[in-house]
Amino acid sequence: MDRRTFLAALGATAAATQLPLQAAAEPVQGSGRITLLHTNDTHSRIEPFGPGNGAISGLGGVTRRATLIKQLRQQLGSVLLLDAGDTFQGTPYFNRYKGRLDYQLMRMMGYDAGTLGNHDFDNGVGPLVEALEAMEQLQHANAPFALLNCNYDFKGAPALAKRVRPYQVKTFPGLRVGLTGVGVAFAGLVSDKNHEGITWRDPYESLKPVVKHLREVEKVDLVVLLSHLGYNLNGTAPDDLRLPGAVAGIDAIIGGHSHTFLEAPTKVPQAQGETLVFQVGFGGVNLGRMDFAVAKGTVRAASGSALPVLA
């Protein structure tokens, strides 16, 4: 039996049990709250880590992650579920199912958007596109999620270009959220044949017009970046800690690549306030959570006046 058909069939039966999302906050424009839930570098870790893996032994697993996400969605209503890339490579599930299963499970869990990590190119562009197709073709109540990236030039890879957007806007009661993504340079990480037709561009320069567009044209209240650059490259390459200083106007960076276990977001000052930089290890061991409140009339210049998030 064709594996793709098999997964699609299972998804169809599962759809009936899908719970409707709850609407929460009252729709006052420019006033609302949103919770970002996020993962990074899940690396085909479908099952929890087995014993002998030190501090992360027994942690992770998509069945538990799915439950946690469902519970939080029911509690909170306005939730975005996001991923910072490197979904592929690391277990026999990837060797066998070539990433199709990983992306299909992300859709079943209700991911809203992801980005591309270097390992997502491990089998080349063709299999990456096939994995995305398998995810799109799944019959499931959840919509297919978007892949976001604004610093890869996909000109020579049209099948992938069709499936990766530079940014996306999500609307919630009283709140508009702009999402975008950036990826790491291919040199030393992805062999030439595996990123054929795709060129890396400087993430800082690529982001500036996108953030400006989201703020000024799309009039979003919050800008969230999915970054697969890495947390701290000590100035050797663009990274999440230095990005806010180079590109103002980003409220949250959901990071990946460096497998950094942060206990809380790092607050990085920038020209328009501050950026929260977060990353939650790897392998689906943790789910990150960031809560944002947007208050009507709060002004950027007065951004020191923080509103506590209602728990």
């Binding site: 479908i46 069945t63 030393g188 206990e263």
Partner: protein, 267 residues
């Protein structure tokens, strides 16, 4: 605490435009551990269960015959299993970067079991290599390569390697190391050499400090386990046996071996 009234007043006081809407920084961002206290989602569980069973079934698939087995070697013996792993790493690295890779080194501590004589199954390779360590290619000078070999000898009597021959002479107090290419030719200390290793060793594991200074790291995305499975698969399909490589890559006199074990050896 509620700062809303203040926030509403402030723009008027400062004469700022009300149009600009700014997200207010969150009070908190937290890490939620995904642990056993969280129940499994039945929908996802139903999808995964048959696939997990399929993966498990592949563990019993026959890979290749190893009539002599491959062993890490007892005290004083060479680690022929490690040599095979290093050879496979060097071969896979050449395929990944499409250029010659003259040296490979891995850590004996990462090989978790021997390969017993007979028919090998997929599960045997998982037992040998349970970790998700990845093949990395870096650049070293010839001099640094020799230093890497010497650090491996000083620490563990020589980590499994491919592409070179190392001979230690002299005394435990003052060892003399000679390293040549496998064909006996001299290593140019100034030459740039592509070296295959694991992300674990390159990242500083098992302390071969000079390896960490490797330049232009290329992370292949291939796990060591996968390249060993691939190597076995190629032999199996061609109906060839998996045989241990010949010994002779490290020759170290017994008194020096003992001094290394007792941590009393110096070059």
């Amino acid at each position: 605490m509620n700062l809303k009234p203040f926030s509403l007043l402030l723009p008027a006081l400062l004469g700022l435009s009300l149009a600009a809407q700014t997200p207010v920084p969150p009070a908190k961002g937290v890490v939620l551990p995904v642990n056993a206290a969280i129940p499994e989602d039945p929908e996802i569980q139903k999808v995964i269960a048959p696939l997990a069973a399929e993966i498990k079934a592949t563990f019993d698939l026959p890979l290749v015959k190893a009539p002599q087995g491959l062993f890490r070697g007892r005290r004083g013996e060479e680690n022929l299993l490690g040599y095979w792993v290093a050879d496979a790493m060097r071969l896979a690295a050449q395929g990944a970067i499409n250029a010659p890779v003259r040296f490979a080194i891995t850590n004996a501590g990462g090989l978790r079991s021997n390969l017993r004589a007979g028919q090998l199954k997929v599960a045997d390779i998982f037992e040998l290599m349970p970790f998700e360590n990845e093949l990395v290619v870096v650049e070293l000078t010839g001099a640094e390569l020799i230093q890497v070999v010497s650090e491996g000898i000083a620490r563990r009597g020589g980590e499994p390697c491919s592409g070179i021959i190392a001979r230690v002479e002299g005394s435990p107090e003052k060892g003399i190391l000679t390293v040549t290419w496998a064909d006996g030719s001299l290593i140019d200390p100034k030459a740039t050499v592509k070296v295959a290793t694991s992300d674990y060793l390159y990242g500083g594991g098992d302390s071969i400090p000079t390896l960490k200074t490797g330049r232009k790291p290329f992370t292949t995305g291939i796990t060591l386990r996968q390249l060993l499975l691939d190597q076995c698969g190629v032999l199996g399909k061609a109906n060839q046996d998996l045989l241990p490589p010949a010994p002779g890559r490290y020759s170290i006199p017994v008194p020096i071996q003992e001094a290394i074990r007792d941590k009393k050896f110096k070059f």
